[in-house]
C-alpha cells in the first residue's frame, strides 16, 4: 500500500463538528477511556486506530450515547456537538442519534424489505410528509450508498437476502436516510471481502462531502486510505491525534511508531 500518497491529500477543515474534552469512561470499576480530548472536523473522515481493547469503539459509542444501553457504563467529561453538550440532562439520546448516525461492525439490516430498512428512520422521525417524499428519500439514500442500481428492481425483497457487502451498504443507506450530521462507523468492513471493502471505502470518501465521518478500523491501510485525520488509541489513552499523513509518516509518539510499524498491537 502506498501510504505516502496520503501526504498529498488536501485537508479541508471547516471547523469542529464534535469537541470532546476530558472524557472518561468507566465499565463498573475498570477505567476504559482516560482523559480523551478530540476535535472531530466537519466534512472530514476521522479514523480511530489502535490495538484490540484500546477503547476506540467505546469512545465512538460515546459520540451518539450508544453506551447508555450498557448499564454499568459511566461517562464523564464533555462531548460537544456543535457546542452543545450531548451528555446534558436535557438531551434525549433518541433525538441525538438521529443527528449522529451509526453503522455497525456486522451488517445488521432489519429482517424487513430493503425499502422498509431505509424508510424506517425517516418514518419514525417524521422527516417526510407523504409517500412520494419517502420514496424520494429512500431513492437518494440508496443512491448515496451506491446501492440503488443493484436493488432498484427489488425494493420489496428482504434486506437480509443481500450479500454481505450489499447489506453493509444498506445499513449505511439506512443511517444516512435520517439526514445525520455525523456518521459513526464501527469497523464497517471487518466482515467484508476485499471487493466489498473497496466499495465501502469509496463510499466513505463520497460521504465526506456531506458530513463528518468517524471510522474505527483495525486496518492501518484502511485508515491511511480513507481518512484525513487519524487518532491512535492505546490502553484507553489517546496517544496521538493529527493529520493522517503525519501520523503514518512522522509519528511523534514512540508508541504510535511501534504500532504502525507492527511492533505492538
Amino acid at each position: 500500500m502506498n501510504d505516502m500518497r496520503t501526504m498529498e491529500r488536501i485537508v479541508s477543515t471547516e471547523g469542529n463538528k464534535i469537541t470532546a474534552r476530558n472524557v472518561q469512561v468507566y465499565y463498573g470499576t475498570s477505567h476504559a477511556i482516560k482523559d480523551v480530548d478530540v476535535d472531530i472536523l466537519d466534512k472530514t473522515v476521522t479514523a480511530f486506530i489502535g490495538p484490540s481493547g484500546c477503547g476506540k469503539s467505546t469512545f465512538l459509542r460515546c459520540l451518539n450515547r450508544m453506551n447508555d444501553t450498557i448499564s454499568v457504563c459511566k461517562v464523564t467529561g464533555n462531548i460537544l456537538l456543535e457546542g452543545e453538550n450531548i451528555y446534558d440532562s436535557r438531551v434525549d439520546p433518541v433525538q441525538l442519534r438521529a443527528k449522529v448516525g451509526m453503522v455497525f461492525q456486522k451488517p445488521n439490516p432489519f429482517p424487513k424489505s430493503i425499502y422498509e430498512n431505509v424508510a424506517y428512520g425517516p418514518r419514525i422521525h417524521g422527516l417526510t410528509r407523504n409517500k412520494a417524499e419517502l420514496d424520494a428519500v429512500v431513492e437518494s439514500s440508496l443512491k448515496k450508498a451506491a446501492l440503488w442500481k443493484e436493488v432498484k428492481d427489488r425494493l420489496a425483497a428482504p434486506g437480509t437476502g443481500l450479500s454481505g457487502g450489499q447489506q453493509q451498504r444498506l445499513c449505511i443507506a439506512r443511517a444516512i436516510a435520517t439526514a445525520p450530521e455525523v456518521l459513526l462507523m464501527d469497523e464497517p468492513c471487518s466482515a467484508l471481502d476485499p471487493i466489498a471493502t473497496a466499495q465501502v471505502e469509496e463510499l466513505i470518501d463520497d460521504l465526506r462531502s456531506q458530513f463528518a465521518v468517524v471510522i474505527v478500523t483495525h486496518s492501518m491501510q484502511q485508515a491511511a486510505r480513507v481518512s484525513q485525520r487519524t487518532a491512535f488509541f492505546h490502553l484507553g489513552n489517546l496517544v496521538e491525534y493529527g493529520e493522517t499523513g503525519q501520523i503514518f509518516t512522522n509519528p511523534k509518539d514512540p508508541r504510535t511508531e511501534s504500532y504502525i510499524s507492527g511492533r505492538i498491537g
Binding site: M66, G101, F104, N108, R174, A175
Partner: protein, 451 residues
C-alpha cells in the same frame, strides 16, 4: 533411502503407530460411544413403548364411547296424553312430565315388538320397558316441546337403550355377567339379540356424548361432555385474555426496561419458583382469594380460569422472556442507531422477531392449562353439573366443569359404562392437545423469519 522402500513395500506390515490399526485407546473410546448410543436408543424405545401402550389402552377402552345403542321405531305422539288441553300451547304442554312421555314411548316400543312378531317370552312388561333408557322420555319431551306441531303425528324415534344393552353390544356385558347382574337379565339380552336381528337395535355414532351434559349414576348412556367442553372453552378463552397481555407485558418490562438490581433478581427468582409450585396449592389460593375473599361463585369457569391463569402466567413469562432474549442484540443496536426510542425498538423490531417463540410458549402453556385438574377440584368444579352455562357473558359465572375434571369424575363412578366414557373424554382431551401442539408448530413455521 529410496532404494530400500522397494523391498519392504511389497508386504504392507502394520508398523507401530499405524493409522490402519485402531489403538487400544481408540477402541475403548469407540466402545464407549457405541454403548452410549445403545443407552439412548433403549431410552427412546422404552418411552415409545410406554406411549404406545397408553394410547392403545385408551383407544381400546374409549373409542366405543363414540357409539351408542339406540332403538329405532315409530313413536306415535298421542295427543290425548301429551297435550290434554288440545291447543298445542307450549306452556300447557310443559305441564306433562316425563312420566307421560314414558307411557307413550313404552307403548310404542311394545307395539313395535309385537308388530314385528318378536317373542318376549320369559319377560314381564316391566322387564321390556326397563330396556329403554330412563333418559329417553326426557329426550322425547325435549323434542316435542321444541316443536309442538309434532303432537298427534308419528315420528321415527331414535331411542336410547340402557347402558347394559349398550355394553352387551360392545362386549362389556355378557350372558354370564348378566346372571349375576341385578340391572339386566340374560332374557333381556336375548331380546336385545332378537332386536338387533330385526334391525331395531343399532349403534350409530354418538353425538350425544359430545353435546349432552353429565347424567346420574343410573343412566351412563346419557352422559356427555357438553358442559365440560363449554367450561373448558370458556376457561381457555379467559386464560388467554388474562395471561397473554399480562405475561407479555411483564416479560417485555423485565427484559427490556427494568433496571438490573436486587429487586428484579428477586422477581425473577420468584417467577421461576411460581412455575414450580404444585398446582393444588394454586387451588387453595383460588379458594381463599377468589371464592372466600372476593365472593365469586364457586364451580364457575371464571374462578377456574383465574386460578389456572395464575399457574400459566409464569410459564408464559418464562417462554416470552427467553424468546425476547433470543432476538440478536445487533437488531436492537440497529434500531437504536437510527434513533428509534426504546419502545419503538421493542414493538417494531424485537417483538415481531420474538413472536414465534411467544406464540409457541403461550400455546404450550394453554395446553398444560387445558389438562390441569387439581386446582379445579378445590374450587368445586368437580360438582355434578346438569345445566349448560349460559352462552352470554354471564355464562362464565355459571357452574361448569372441565374436561380433565370430567375424566376424573367419571373414573370414580361405579358403573363400568362410565369408565368407557372417561376414556372417551381422554381421547377428546388428547385431540385438543394435539391440535394445540400442531398449531404451535405451524405458527412457529409461519412466523419464523430467516436471517
Amino acid at each position: 533411502m529410496t532404494d530400500m522402500s522397494a523391498g519392504s513395500a511389497a508386504i504392507p506390515r502394520a508398523k507401530k503407530n499405524s493409522i490402519l490399526v485402531a489403538s487400544d485407546n481408540m477402541r475403548r473410546r469407540n466402545a464407549a460411544e457405541a454403548r452410549f448410543k445403545i443407552y439412548g436408543l433403549a431410552a427412546i424405545a422404552v418411552s415409545m413403548v410406554t406411549l404406545a401402550f397408553m394410547l392403545v389402552t385408551i383407544l381400546n377402552d374409549g373409542l366405543s364411547s363414540f357409539k351408542q345403542a339406540r332403538y329405532s321405531f315409530p313413536v306415535s305422539l298421542t295427543a290425548a296424553v301429551l297435550d290434554p288441553s288440545g291447543d298445542r300451547n307450549r306452556d300447557e304442554m310443559a305441564k306433562v312430565t316425563t312420566v307421560g312421555y314414558a307411557k307413550v314411548l313404552i307403548a310404542a316400543f311394545k307395539a313395535e315388538i309385537e308388530a314385528r312378531g318378536i317373542s318376549t317370552e320369559g319377560l314381564s312388561d316391566k322387564d321390556v320397558s326397563d330396556m329403554v333408557s330412563k333418559d329417553a322420555p326426557g329426550e322425547l319431551r325435549a323434542t316435542v316441546l321444541a316443536n309442538p306441531a309434532l303432537v298427534g303425528t308419528s315420528i321415527d324415534g331414535s331411542i336410547l337403550a340402557i347402558g347394559r344393552v349398550d355394553g352387551f353390544i360392545k362386549g362389556r356385558v355378557t350372558m354370564e355377567t348378566a346372571v349375576r347382574d341385578g340391572n339386566v337379565s340374560p332374557e333381556q339380552l336375548q331380546l336385545a339379540e332378537r332386536l338387533i336381528e330385526a334391525g331395531i337395535l343399532t349403534s350409530p355414532f354418538n353425538w350425544d356424548f359430545i353435546t349432552n351434559s353429565d347424567a346420574s349414576d343410573q343412566r351412563p348412556e346419557a352422559a356427555g361432555l357438553g358442559v365440560a367442553l363449554i367450561g373448558s372453552a370458556y376457561m381457555m378463552l379467559i386464560v388467554l385474555i388474562t395471561c397473554v397481555p399480562v405475561g407479555v407485558a411483564a416479560s417485555i418490562y423485565l427484559e427490556e426496561f427494568a433496571p438490573k438490581n436486587r429487586w428484579t433478581d428477586l422477581i425473577e427468582v420468584n417467577i421461576s419458583n411460581l412455575a414450580a409450585v404444585p398446582s393444588i396449592v394454586f387451588g387453595i389460593l383460588g379458594l381463599a382469594v377468589f371464592i372466600n375473599f372476593m365472593g365469586l361463585p364457586q364451580s364457575s369457569s371464571l374462578v377456574g380460569a383465574l386460578v389456572i391463569s395464575l399457574m400459566t402466567l409464569p410459564t408464559i413469562i418464562i417462554a416470552t422472556r427467553s424468546a425476547i432474549r433470543a432476538v440478536p442484540p445487533s437488531i436492537r443496536d440497529a434500531a437504536l442507531g437510527v434513533g428509534a426510542s426504546k419502545m419503538q425498538m421493542v414493538f417494531h423490531h424485537v417483538l415481531p422477531l420474538a413472536m414465534p417463540g411467544i406464540l409457541t410458549g403461550t400455546i404450550l402453556g394453554l395446553a398444560t392449562a387445558l389438562g390441569e385438574t387439581a386446582p379445579l377440584l378445590l374450587i368445586g368444579m368437580v360438582a355434578f353439573v346438569d345445566e349448560y352455562p349460559s352462552a352470554s357473558l354471564g355464562g362464565i359465572l355459571d357452574p361448569a366443569t372441565a374436561l380433565p375434571v370430567q375424566v376424573y369424575g367419571w373414573a370414580q363412578r361405579a358403573d363400568p359404562a362410565f369408565i368407557e366414557r372417561s376414556n372417551g373424554a381422554i381421547i377428546i382431551l388428547l385431540i385438543f392437545l394435539v391440535i394445540m401442539n400442531v398449531a404451535a408448530i405451524l405458527l412457529r413455521r409461519r412466523f419464523e423469519r430467516r436471517w
